[in-house]
């Protein structure tokens, strides 16, 4: 009787071990990863006479994205839904100036609706931080870039370098994106 009981538990345990991993393996099939993080430590001012794009000069991470030659465009390689987060340090280059800056995203040369943000700056707030987070569907070959414009010629995105006490540079723009699905 005792042996039968032991037999019962051993068989139950073994069958459980046998079936569960099969189901779990099916669930945990890995998805191809894709991510990108770029930044710039240069102050940039948009051209008032033509559409301007933000230039990045510093790549922290890149996988399954292709960066364009000038650090302006990025090409997706894997289809999916992506989360994009960006931080832009807007500022005035002349303390007597006030106005605003707009920053938006473009996909294949066309502005993406609902991605434009505006921030005012003035003598009382010479520098401000503008952050964005949104979801976007990208397909293989889609090219995206970041457009910006300002209400005046001495308003742009600003970087601060050589800061004291080992403080890291304040970059003018930082963008991170990764594939969520």
């Amino acid at each position: 009787m005792v042996l039968k009981k032991i037999n019962f538990f051993v068989i139950s345990f073994l069958s459980y071990l046998f079936f569960i991993p099969l189901e779990s393996e099916e669930i945990s099939l890995p998805d191809p990863e894709a991510y990108l993080e770029v930044a710039s430590n240069k102050t940039q001012v948009p051209n008032p006479n033509q559409k301007s794009f933000i230039i990045t000069d510093n790549t922290s991470f890149i996988k399954n994205f292709k960066a364009g030659d000038k650090g302006i465009t990025f090409t997706a390689i894997i289809d999916g839904i992506y989360l994009i987060g960006s931080g832009v340090q807007v500022g005035i280059l002349n303390p007597k100036v006030s106005g605003y800056i707009d920053v938006w995203f473009e996909l294949n040369g066309a502005p993406i609706p609902a991605t434009n943000s505006r921030q005012y700056i003035s003598q009382s707030a010479e520098v401000a931080l503008m952050t964005n987070a949104f979801l976007i569907e990208l397909k293989n070959g889609d090219v995206f870039s970041i457009g910006f414009s300002a209400s005046g010629p001495e308003i742009g995105i600003v970087a601060f370098t050589n800061l004291p006490n080992n403080e890291p540079d304040i970059v003018s723009i930082g963008i991170s994106l990764f594939k969520i699905y």
């Binding site: 019962f8 068989i11 139950s12 069958s15 459980y16 079936f19 569960i20 189901e23 779990s24 099916e26 669930i27 559409k51 839904i81 989360l83 006030s98 605003y100 707009d102 938006w104 502005p111 993406i112 609706p113 609902a114 991605t115 434009n116 943000s117 505006r118 921030q119 005012y120 700056i121 003035s122 003598q123 009382s124 707030a125 401000a128 503008m130 952050t131 964005n132 987070a133 949104f134 979801l135 569907e137 457009g147 414009s149 969520i180 699905y181």
Partner: protein, 175 residues
């Protein structure tokens, strides 16, 4: 015979368990935005509407588009971006914004931004991570210190630049 019955029961049990866990693998995301200037009711907590549905999967959106309803339980990343602004000149004050789950304001999710004559349009971005259950209703609350402070939509007349939306809300299931 007993062994076969036992095997069958265990197999059935493991299959059922796998079915019960299948939601873990399902995608869920939503993004709403607004091209409407919105002003909160003074002294009352108000909810922001996002009348444009940019993308949605495994979320329901309420008929007046001021909340989303979770359909797949899980851990979620939620963010919103607002353009607080003074609607008329000469006004100054602040705007607050926070997240609600099932009508209850979530602690630590509130942010404040001042706007004034020199800083007529500003921006707030909020990010949080929430554990959500099926049927949980998520919305964005806002309030302001002045009846002429709200979130603004700014139409762009340039074909090369999109309009500035007053509000964008995004959520997706992390796991």
């Amino acid at each position: 015979m007993q062994i076969f019955v036992l095997f069958f029961l265990v197999f059935l049990n493991s299959s059922l368990q796998a079915d019960n866990q299948s939601w873990k693998n399902q995608d869920a995301y939503v993004q709403l935005s607004s091209v409407v200037t919105q002003i909160p009711n003074l002294g009352l907590s108000s909810i922001i509407s996002g009348e444009t549905i940019d993308m949605v999967k495994n979320f329901q959106i309420t008929p007046n588009r001021d909340a989303v309803v979770c359909q797949i339980p899980g851990l979620y990343y939620i963010s919103c971006g607002l353009q607080p602004a003074t609607i008329v000149r000469g006004v100054s004050g602040y705007m607050d914004t926070w997240f609600n789950v099932n009508g209850v304001a979530i602690p630590s999710s509130n942010s404040r931004q001042y706007v004034d004559e020199n800083l007529r349009v500003s921006q707030i971005t909020n990010n949080s991570i929430f554990q959500l259950n099926e049927g949980d209703v998520i919305s964005t609350g806002f309030s302001s210190s002045n009846p002429y402070i709200g979130i603004v939509y700014i139409q762009s007349y340039l074909s090369s630049e999109p309009s500035v939306t007053s509000y964008i809300f995004s959520a997706y299931k992390i796991r």
